[in-house]
């Protein structure tokens, strides 16, 4: 079945050097106590300093044109940086969305000014973006969104609110999907636009949503008569839905859908090797085989996306399977070792285990729930 075909990607030799460079950098950061390994670091590991250092090394906006501060490197090299960071549990959440989503969006749809202004700042690791998609009471039904902007002289007046906005309290801007013409119940996807909203603008209120762990990563963002200049409209007015949905393929098949709990798997492997626990390592072997497969799928899709091949179905598939895999790691780990999971523990395994267990419900919810993804995949293969 063509829809499910994924190419084999051979990583070029040069990427090996890149990996070693990253690992050396990370080793020093960790040894100097500047960063700390965490599970689910792309949501919960934040460091302005670290983001700036990554920018300085050219590891943000890697594939973008040099004139916008990018590195004009291949998507495979970008992939390598991303997965090395995740495997090490490095604090990458600050620039994550801007690098993964905002950059490509602006490159595709942004005006010259937008590109000129935002991309170099993002690439330096100094300018963060937040996603402005979900709304209260809309849940998975994104098309039900109600935020609206009304045309005024030289710009738009935005009202409404967004929810589950990760990192909004750190971010400088948000790409807000809103209605620029009133909702048509017969075509709920029409009349939406994407606006770049300055989160420091008057009328913007950011309210933390504490997770059940007590941590603060998510926010509710309120827009009350926020003025958005004309120059901050992304792409075509009314085309926001299509533009927003195109982002999703980037979001769904990346290594962050596979590796969120990798630090735990690594630590588990350490412990089992030390104990010489072959039965436990048998389980790890099974997980490696699954990870190997998922990573190859994810790499193949990165290649397809680079080539412009539509990959929404297969990307949805990888997200579904990858996040299940992420969730399985803590469940398998706890049965192989004696550990009392605790976020305060001095024992790495116990700490990673607690982080993984407590964050794991989010894996299969964020960026499209399992239920939504399976619907997409099923419809995709039926219509073959």
């Amino acid at each position: 079945m063509k829809t499910l075909e994924i190419p084999v990607v051979k990583l070029p030799k040069e990427t090996e050097e890149l990996r070693r460079e990253i690992r050396q950098f990370l080793k020093e950061e960790i040894e100097n106590g500047l960063i700390e390994t965490k599970c689910d670091c792309w949501l919960s590991g934040f460091s302005e300093d670290f983001s700036r250092k990554m920018g300085a090394r050219g590891w943000i906006g890697m594939t973008w044109p040099k004139k916008y501060g990018g590195g004009e490197r291949s998507s495979v090299e970008r992939y390598v940086v991303t997965e090395e960071m995740l495997a090490a549990g490095a604090p990458v959440s600050g620039h994550w969305i801007a690098d993964r989503q905002t950059g490509p969006l602006l490159l595709k749809y942004g005006t010259g000014e937008q590109k000129q202004f935002f991309l170099p700042r993002i690439a330096k690791g100094e300018c963060y973006f937040a996603i402005g998609l979900s709304e209260p009471n809309a849940g998975s039904d994104l098309a039900a969104l109600q935020a609206r902007a009304v045309k005024v002289d030289k710009g738009w007046i935005l009202n409404g609110s967004k929810i589950w906005t990760s990192g909004a309290h750190h971010a400088h801007y948000s790409i807000v999907l809103c209605r620029t013409t009133p909702m048509d119940p017969n075509n709920r996807h029409a009349g939406m636009s994407q606006l770049i909203v300055d989160l420091n603008a008057p009328g913007v209120t950011i309210r933390p949503i504490h997770l059940m762990t007590g941590e603060h990563h998510f926010n509710e963002v309120f827009f009350e008569d926020v003025f958005v200049p004309d120059g901050m409209v992304v792409g075509t007015l009314g085309n926001g839905w299509a533009q927003g949905m195109a982002e999703l393929a980037y979001e769904r098949s990346g290594p962050e859908r596979i590796l969120s709990t990798f630090p735990l798997l690594n630590e588990l492997t350490n412990v089992l090797i030390e104990k010489g626990d072959t039965k436990g390592l048998n389980k790890v072997s099974r997980l490696i085989s699954r990870l190997w497969t998922l990573r190859n799928m994810s790499l193949g899709i990165a290649r397809l996306l680079e080539e412009g091949v539509p990959s929404n179905i297969i990307a949805s598939l990888v997200k579904d399977m990858g996040t299940q895999f992420e969730q399985e790691i803590p469940e398998i780990t706890r049965l192989l070792v004696s550990a009392i999971p605790s976020t305060d523990s001095e024992n790495r395994l116990e700490r990673f285990l607690a982080q993984s267990i407590l964050q794991s419900p989010g894996f299969t919810l964020r960026g499209g729930t399992t239920e939504i993804l399976r619907g997409i995949v099923a419809k995709g293969v039926i219509n073959q």
């Binding site: 997770l211 059940m212 192989l336 009392i340 305060d344």
Partner: protein, 364 residues
């Protein structure tokens, strides 16, 4: 259900409903002792249920006590009720009166016996216990001890102990208790066999966690069903989606399974405190806990993942409790050791509890 039991449960329900509210549970996580909850349970005699009146209890049977505990699990009650019950059972089994006030026991089977040294009228105590539920709030700690006269069940006052605060994944107090050359004037000791005592603590601990979890799972099911009734998506209540229905069915199955497993464990514990049915129950309910949490969080989606919602009161407790007093692996190993003694084709005898030809099988 007996009338007596019904009465007890009704009173307990009222107390939990009133004093184990969302706010109380959240405050407890921040370090606030749920004093009103505890005092009311005490005032209504709930803490002494299952212990004969002549030993300071309030009557009723084991089953009554564990029904109250299951309710405590359902209401995420942030108090050492399980520990108090275990202390009661240990003491009353030895014919001793139970202790007034807030009592706790070590939460894992890891602590070495505390050392007692006679010193003048009193004792010098040395010892460490990790992961002790609510040690910071408790007045007494019940642990295995050792003096030159042998091993004892030891009831220690906690005023002079050093307490290092800790918590489980649910934010429930799990403290470290350190006695470093602490002089104590009075302390109750009862001679016991050390390994029998620690085994009893472990099995009783597993039973309490099984029952607490069965209660928490009930709550998760209730919360999830309510959510699917109230929440709409794509224009209809989400329980109309087949995927949600399948989640609910699986959740109901785990709830029913955990419920019956807890019931049989309680029943078995009454006749044999080391019954293999306690192992079966802890395994099965641990397993249920993981599944139930995954399903409930998936159904409630982002909202159930916030601190604001109460779902996590139950789910974080379930994640914590399944690790306390034995994981699935720990209890599997207990059963395995019995299986290894079996003769050929005797598995069915183990399941049915009826051996062939009136011959004894290894497993009890």
């Amino acid at each position: 259900m007996s009338e007596m039991k019904e009465m007890i449960l009704e009173s307990a329900a009222k107390i939990f409903e009133k004093y184990s509210t969302k706010e109380v549970v959240n405050d407890a996580e921040k370090g606030q002792w749920a004093a009103e909850l505890w005092e009311n349970l005490e005032a209504y005699g709930m803490l002494g249920v299952g212990v004969p009146e002549e030993l300071g209890g309030s009557g009723g049977d084991l089953d009554d006590a564990l029904s109250i505990l299951q309710m405590a699990g359902k209401y995420s009650a942030p108090i050492p009720l399980a520990e108090t019950f275990i202390a009661n059972w240990l003491l009353s089994d030895l014919g001793e009166s139970i202790i007034e006030g807030i009592v706790t026991i070590p939460g894992q089977n890891s602590s070495e016996p505390f050392q007692l040294q006679k010193s003048g009228q009193g004792w010098i105590i040395n010892g460490k216990a990790k992961y002790v539920p609510w040690a910071r709030n408790a007045e007494k700690l019940l642990v295995p001890g050792e003096s030159i006269d042998g091993t004892v069940l030891l009831v220690l006052p906690l005023e002079k102990a050093e307490i290092k605060p800790g918590k489980n994944m649910a934010g429930e107090a799990r403290d470290e208790v350190i006695f470093d050359q602490v002089y104590i004037e009075e302390c109750k000791t009862v001679s016991v066999d050390y390994s029998a005592l620690t085994k009893k603590l472990y099995y009783a601990g597993a039973l309490t966690r099984s029952v607490l979890m069965a209660g928490a799972i009930e709550r998760v099911l209730d919360v999830t069903i309510n959510h699917t009734n109230e929440r709409s998506q794509f224009g209809r209540p989400i329980h109309r989606f087949q995927a949600i229905q399948h989640h609910l069915a699986a959740l109901a199955g785990e709830t029913a399974g955990a419920g019956i497993a807890a019931k049989y464990a309680v029943d078995a514990f009454g006749t044999n405190p080391f019954s293999k049915e306690l192992a079966y129950a802890k395994i099965r309910i641990n397993e249920a806990a993981g599944k139930v949490n995954t399903i409930a969080h998936q159904v409630l989606a982002a909202i159930g993942f916030t601190y604001e919602h109460t779902l996590h009161h139950s789910t974080r407790r379930l994640w914590s409790w399944r690790e306390e007093f034995g994981t699935e692996s720990d209890w599997e190993q207990v059963i395995t050791e019995e299986l290894l003694k079996l003769e050929k084709n005797e598995l069915w005898s183990v399941i049915t509890g009826v051996v062939n030809h009136a011959k004894k099988v290894g497993i009890q």
